[in-house]
Subunit: 438 residues, 2 copies
């Protein structure tokens, strides 16, 4: 007996899937007790040599050759995007095929439709590769930690953004410079918007929230802010205050609602997340029974992502071998338990903040700024002012105690109108609770 | 519909299981689509108040009341030990019941018999809680990383030992002092042998090897060395050389054999494992597709361990709900693929070593010692000699380049016979490859 698999999308990850199925064939067979056979591969480009051997007759330009093949039990969708990929997945379900995908953009925007289509036909959908690359974090949420109420999730889940922040810190360089060299090395796309503006991170957070809370979360309810406005000054000040700046995906259950936000965050340097450097990813979870846990590894790349895709194929194969229906629903929640969740308004957030002002260096400036903060019930935790150049602009940095985000925004608008303040106020949220949790 | 569960052993973890099933009942039901009902609890002590409410008629002194109850589908064994627990588990299988256990001592000594008993009856055995407490590391090995060849495993999997080493470093105190205070706080047993001598770590490593390599490993083939001989001097010198000392469980595939060893290890301080402090556990794995991954969390304690036990109960319940046979074999390998593996002889190990000599401070000592090392093909990487007290004993510390362990032991024996060397030579293995991997 062999499980026949079809692959649609023969790019980097697709090539990795072919390699893993080939190089680790004996391990896969030893575990499943049968072969996994890659019967068809569809890609518009059937000419390019990907450095892996493909048997004659396997390659096709037509995705339908995969979807309509009655011998294929599992379709792997790796073309990405939210249009053709969606059609392919829904058609595969119609044909009674299980699906494995790495498509976070699609699942975060059309997840409800796709998950429901799978459930209604009692078919499996595996999407481990959509978040955290090779790290089996979705399996941990769906199964390993399933006895927990998930109280918080903090994820570094975009390798490009983490690489840029790490390099800005270790080399003291500007965002633009590091981005340019990351693009040269192929660590960043030519259009880096998805990665540096937090959009990709938000897609992945939406999926984590789906699984943690049993909901079809709406991507547009996730507050999303990127790292392009972070300066080397902020990176340096963060260090002085004992923090590292990380682009975090954050979900927190609080007061019957869920905080869902993506933004650059000051993380206490003693916290394990502060030490996740370069292209590595990590998800730090707090469950009410398990306490703190962290899952760390390569969040992207040919082979790590293929590791997750093939693990999903093997999971589905185990049920096929036994003749069993999929043991897990797409979200691991029973369909009737899936519910809407309230997303907490950002205005109601209460956190400490890092504020950097470009202020004229003359007497009374700090008093004016702190006066405005005080009138909004924001109290100051510490102040750094460096480099005295009387009459010129110098950075003035303030960290606050817990403040209401709504009041903070009002205060910033007022402060920006002061004639001693020369530029927009820079602000970064501080996750002090990460220090306490650890 | 409800899944009826029976618990045998109402100690700390058993109490945690009762709490998780109660406190997280709604989450469990939302996921499974049915209740998990704790029908019977057996413990010799039915009187003590554990601070959790148990319905009348649930408690019994007789384990057979659980095993023989036809309504109970899953038996949770939490009494520990390798005699009664073994009988209970085998009897439960005979009665057609699935089993969940946290018993690493039992599984590492009688694993083959127990795993085969489960397989032969097509019953499931869950043992996530036996390694790494709440960290779903066994699930990662059995499923999440199943498409990989596991090239290496490095685990900090004994919280007591890690707590002691962490405190020795942070407070500069002696092993005996820290152990005594750990015993006072309840972090160490009155007889700490299992934890500090590496025995518990070896039990867990045996289980990790079972799953990673599809073998019934023999506990006695695992080289086991504890931390009781580590002095505060070694902890300090380690830091000077840029290392942390951690009690590691190590499994490495090399040249068709497997290194299987537990010992105090110098870990490069930049490596994520070096930063796993206190009672926390972590397992750092390298898979040929996924690359480096790390799983971090609480390796013991009432609620984290219960989190793993209940996750196993839920896993098994999912199959029961669907009317499916267990989807996974005990080791996740098909029975016929399970094979013996060759364990590499410690003599053939090739590593850099840290060596500390208690040497008389007089001219020519270093030359004598390095002469012996040289004659065994051991070359020196760096030397530290501190505190000059001519004619008295001072610590002389040497780190070596890669050396064969067999030669190192011969050299140490020779050096200990030198009249300028006053005490046994202290040696600690260095895992330099962890620096490179990361």
């Amino acid at each position: 007996m062999a499980i026949n698999v079809g692959l649609i999308g023969f790019g980097t990850v697709g090539t990795g899937v072919v390699r893993v199925l080939k190089e680790n064939a004996s391990v896969i067979r030893d575990k499943l007790g049968c072969e996994v056979s890659l019967k068809r591969i569809a890609d518009l480009d059937t000419k390019t040599d990907r450095g892996v051997k493909v048997e004659k007759g396997v390659l096709t330009e037509n995705a339908d050759d995969v979807i309509n093949d009655p011998d294929i039990a599992i379709v792997i969708e790796l073309i990405g995007g939210t249009t053709v990929a969606k059609d392919i997945i829904l058609k595969a379900f119609e044909k009674g095929k299980h699906v494995v995908t790495a498509n976070k953009a699609l699942l975060s925007t059309h997840g409800a439709e796709i998950f429901q289509a799978a459930s209604s036909k009692s078919l499996a959908i595996g999407f481990e590769a959509s978040v955290g690359g090779g790290i089996p974090i979705l399996k941990a949420l769906r199964e390993g930690l399933s006895a927990n109420r998930i109280e918080s999730i903090y994820g570094i889940i975009n390798g490009t953004a983490n690489y840029i922040l790490t390099k800005m810190e270790s080399e003291g360089r500007k965002f633009e410079e590091v981005l340019a060299s990351a693009q040269e090395k192929g660590y960043a796309e030519l259009d880096p918007t998805y990665d540096v503006e937090g959009i990709d991170t938000a897609h992945k957070l939406a999926i984590l929230i789906n699984l943690a809370y049993g909901t079809y979360s709406r991507l547009d309810s996730i507050y999303t802010e990127g790292i392009s406005r972070i300066t080397e000054l902020d990176v340096r000040f963060a260090k002085e205050f004992g923090y590292r700046i990380k682009l975090l995906a954050i979900a927190k259950a609080s007061d019957g609602a869920i905080e869902a936000r993506v933004h650059p965050t000051m993380v206490p340097e003693s916290h394990p997340l502060a030490k996740v450097d370069g292209v590595f990813n990590a998800v730090f979870l707090h469950g009410n029974a398990v306490g703190d846990t962290m899952f760390y590894g390569r969040g992207a790349g040919m082979m790590p992502t293929a590791s997750a895709v093939v693990a999903d194929v093997m999971d589905i194969s185990r049920d096929i071998v036994k003749g069993s229906p999929p043991r897990l629903t797409p979200l691991s929640y029973s369909e009737k338990a899936i519910k809407g969740v309230k997303i907490k308004d950002m205005d109601d957030l209460e956190l400490p903040y890092y504020l950097r002002f470009s202020a004229v260096d003359k007497p009374g400036v700090l008093s004016k700024i702190s006066g405005v903060l005080g009138s909004h019930n924001i109290s100051i935790s510490s102040v750094i002012q460096k480099g005295r150049r009387l009459g010129e602009a110098v950075p003035l940095v303030i960290t606050t105690h817990n403040a209401l985000e709504k009041e903070l925004r009002l205060a910033m608008a007022e402060i920006e109108k002061l004639d001693v303040v020369l530029d927009r106020v820079m602000f970064i949220r501080i996750e002090e609770s990460l220090g306490a949790a650890y």
